[in-house]
Structure formats: structure tokens, C-alpha cells
Amino acid sequence: MKAAVIVFPGSNCDRDLQVALKRAGADVQMIWHKDTELPAGIDLVAVPGGFSFGDYLRCGAIAANSPICRSLIKHVERGGYALGICNGFQVLTETGLLPGALRRNAGLKYICKPVQLRVEACESDYLVGYEAGQEVTVPIAHHDGNYYVDDAKLAQLQGEGRIAFSYVDNPNGSVADIAGVVSKNRRVLGMMPHPERMAEPSHGGTDGKAMFDGLMSQMALA
């Protein structure tokens, strides 16, 4: 699998994501936000966590309009895979590639701690390493992770099985405890928790590793 990790000014989980993807066996290239084209043959574009452009205007809003994101949108329209973690999830909602928006946490506090997630019954190549209903521990680290969709969109996401992860104990006020969602074609995943920070024993756990390994195994079949 060939993966590209986009780097914005203010990204700070880009190298963690690079390491997690490499350890899963991917060939990873780091791509600067001012580049206008993704390298040829990229399977997965990964948008990392951090504070792109200082969270100015809205989290992810400036990044979503950067030159490389026009190329990212085309990549997804061609059926390519995209993964957005934390700020990357905010960027993907701002581009419109994923539904909803991330609001300020209900408790107004930045929260940085491991949380329990439930893997939902969502058919996606990102989740083949998990069982539906499995509970995993993955850290969150965000101030604006309070997911919002309106009632009609929520019903659609639930009906189509597009909720990938939910919080066992909702830390931030997200609608329906949602921690991550996939696109209609299931190739775009956005999530606030950080699987790349729980991907080897020295991180204190490996529950995030199954996502990268599972995705790699599906790519190998393709």
C-alpha cells in the first residue's frame, strides 16, 4: 500500500501516523500542503492530528482549502482511501468529504486521556481487524471533538451503518456518542481518537494497531 501523509503548518501527529503506517507495512510519503498534486499511485491519503493553521477561523477550515486538499478531493472522487484523525477528521468534514461538523467540547475543556470506544457494526476496510461490538482503548486529545449532525443525517448514518466508532462514556457531548464515521463508499474514515498513539506496547496498548493492519490486509487482497 502506498500512503501519503499530508503535513500542514501546525500538524503534530504526522510523524506518529507515518510510523504507524510504516510499521503496518505501508510505503509512506510525507506531502506538504502547498503541493498541488498527490504522487502517482497513492492508495491512502492520511490527514493527521494537530492544529493546522493554529485552528484559525474554525478547526480544519483553512487546511480544507489548501492546494493539496483539492487533489485529496479528486483522489476520493476516484475511489481512493482517506483517513482523517482528530484535526484530520475536522479537515475532512470541512471539505465535505464526510458529513457533520466538530464543535467545541460540551465541557469547554481540552481533553487528553485514553477512552473506551465501541467498534460499531460498520462494514469498512478500516475495521476488518475488529469484531463489531468490541470495546477498545484509544486516546483522545482535543478541544473541538463534539460531533454534530442534524437528526435527518444521523438517521441516515445509522440506517446505512456508517458509524465506525462510538464512545462508551461520551467525553465531549457528541451526538449519539459518535467518535468516527465513514463515507458512503466506506473508503473515507474520520475519527477523533488517535489509533496511531495506541499502536505498539510502549504506547501502553495496541488497540489502534488492528486498524492499520486490517486496512493493509484488505489492500493486499485488492
Binding site: L57, R58, N65, P99, R104, A106, L108
Partner: protein
């Protein structure tokens, strides 16, 4: 010319910052504050002749996230 864009969370979208301000006003002894909504104001210096339609396009593409926010435009 100048334009002023007001961006607010849509009605029905919980505004935790507004709620915190409402509680703080109550704690200061201001009774009867039944709701607070916090938004932002963006002032634009524009070339003469810029149309409201252009400013609207700026709002739709960047200045507001219309999933959760509404906006109003003042020209002049």
C-alpha cells in the same frame, strides 16, 4: 468598501460557550439572562464594487460552516 459578516451557530445547535457565559452572568448576580449565544464578527476591506453575491460566496466557501453556522452580511 467594507463588509461585516456575522457568524452564529444555528438555532438548535448547542452553544457550550454561550451557556458558560450565561452561567457566569448568573453568578455575577445578573438575573433573568435566559440565553446567551456567542458568535463572531468578521470585517472585510473590499475593492469598491464588490457585490453582496461575492461576499455570500466567501461565506459559503470559507467564512461559515453552514452545517452548524448561519451568517448575515452587512455592506457599507
Amino acid at each position: 468598501m467594507k463588509a461585516r459578516v456575522h457568524v452564529m451557530l444555528k438555532t438548535g445547535v448547542l452553544d457550550p460557550q454561550g451557556e458558560a457565559v450565561r452561567h457566569a452572568l448568573g453568578a455575577l448576580g445578573f438575573d433573568g439572562v435566559e440565553g446567551v449565544r456567542q458568535g463572531k464578527v468578521i470585517e472585510l476591506d473590499l475593492a469598491e464594487g464588490t457585490t453582496e453575491a461575492t461576499v455570500k460566496e466567501m461565506c459559503e466557501k470559507l467564512l461559515a460552516n453552514t452545517v452548524i453556522e448561519s451568517y448575515t452580511i452587512e455592506l457599507g
